[in-house]
Amino acid sequence: MTDWRDALNVVVKDVATEMRTKEALGAMLVFALLVIIIFNFALELRSDNAREIAPGILWVAFAFAGMLGFNRSFALERENACIEGLMLAAADRSMIYVGKMLGNVVFMSLAEMCVLPIFAALFDVPVLNPALWLVILLGTLGLCAVGTLFAVMAVSTRAREVILPLLLFPITVPLIIAAVKATGQVLDGQRLSEAFVWLRLMLGFDIIFTLLAFLGFEYVIEE
């Protein structure tokens, strides 16, 4: 089980690097807020329909912000070809995937934690709810699982970031649908067990695609 140390090293390194500049975090946070505010005007939200639409807006904001993070996570590794340094140093290359994915989860979660209070204020919804945090965590895990893998591929092409949303959004359709529905139910004050069917879908998505991405990473990271 010493292999897991490689993944941990990568996470620690990513967090340390990001804490120095806070570029990615800042961009993710600002982007998420912009999305929420633009939707507010675009959909002409009023107090009566805001609650219904709020979950959807939240997840769109998270998804776009997440993508910024995924792209940046590997764009950094392309500078000075650090990804090759990682490939040389890591015993098991799949651990690079685990490390990168966990790093993405950490950053996305940090951005989400900053967005939630503002979201609560703008839409007048209760966010101090562990059930909500669980739903958000499950959704974040799924997005990061696939996003990390697809970001490697996207960053290796001539078009770079542009191709990532085109691939990521169709794949995460089940996850987003479930996340929005579950979030809506939780914000309405329903018990977690009522959202069970959606949670199960999200968990299934997370497990299946984390596994697939873990296995597929080695094939994708090579030159």
Binding site: T2, R5, D6, N9, K13, A16, T17, R20, T21, L76, E79, N80, A81, C82, E84, G85, L86, M87, L88, A89, A90, A91, D92, E222, E223
Partner: protein
């Protein structure tokens, strides 16, 4: 095909690097076509060749960064395709890309890679290497603030963290001024004396004669000439080089 007094004539049971019939294709182009190379332990070899000959590709394959299209490769006696994880522990690869994280300091860069390599007594080793390469003062400076020469030295330090038996070095002299290049040659000599096996690529003929014992000429994906640098003068090498490379243009 006769063998000269060169890398292949040593009758050792095992070579540090054994390459037989190595080929690498990039789509329609064959970059390497049946490369044959045997590097004994403790020797230092320069792979010379014009641009596009495949030198970097060859080194990257040996470093497990690239997969061969055909042929057989053994590094430190281990088959490349099956034991790539073990091979990585025994080689150090230095590329013209530095593999350094700009936002981490010299110390942190080395410490990160050292952890990945599971280097024992890591902190001590990092300090030792920083001293050895004259980077002790740059210890807490971010890697992106270092000069090109310093970055190159730091990158070399990174490759040596885990005390690899075999060092693979791609174009070490590129973009270096005279002083830095001389310092590098000194480092190479030190490593040779300590018994490391060194495989280097360059198109700088002069340096290759100074820095290593043997040269192999790679032209258009094949090794076409091998010799010892002791028995060869610079002029002879230059003449052979020009003759062999002219026929391919």
């Amino acid at each position: 095909m006769n063998m000269s007094a060169s890398v292949t004539s040593e009758s050792k049971a095992c070579y540090a690097v054994e390459v037989e019939g190595l080929s690498k294709n990039w789509g329609h182009t064959a970059v390497l076509r049946g490369v044959k190379l045997h590097v004994p332990y403790g020797s230092s070899v320069t792979i010379l060749g014009p641009n596009g000959a495949g030198k970097t590709t060859l080194l990257r394959i040996l470093a497990t960064l690239s997969r061969p299209s055909g042929g057989r490769v053994r590094v430190d006696g281990l088959d490349l395709l099956r034991f790539d994880q073990s091979i990585r522990q025994r080689i150090g690869f230095v590329s013209h890309q530095t593999y350094l994280y700009g936002e981490l300091s010299s110390f942190e860069n080395l410490r990160f890679y050292g952890r990945m390599y599971r280097v024992p007594d890591l902190e001590q080793r990092v300090v030792e290497l920083l001293e050895q390469f004259g980077l002790a003062e740059q210890r807490d400076n971010l890697a992106r603030t270092l000069s090109r020469g310093m970055q190159q030295r730091l990158s070399l330090a990174r490759a040596l963290l885990h005390r690899p038996k075999i060092l693979l070095w791609d174009e070490p002299y590129a973009c270096l001024d005279q002083r830095a290049a001389d310092a590098l040659t000194g480092i190479l000599r030190d490593l040779r004396m300590k018994g490391s096996t060194i495989l280097m690529t360059t198109h700088d003929l002069e340096r290759s004669v100074q820095a290593t014992d043997q040269v192999a000429l790679l032209v258009a994906g094949k090794i076409v000439y091998e010799a010892c640098t002791q028995t060869l003068s610079r002029e002879q090498l230059l003449a052979t080089y020009l003759e062999r490379t002219r026929s391919r243009t």
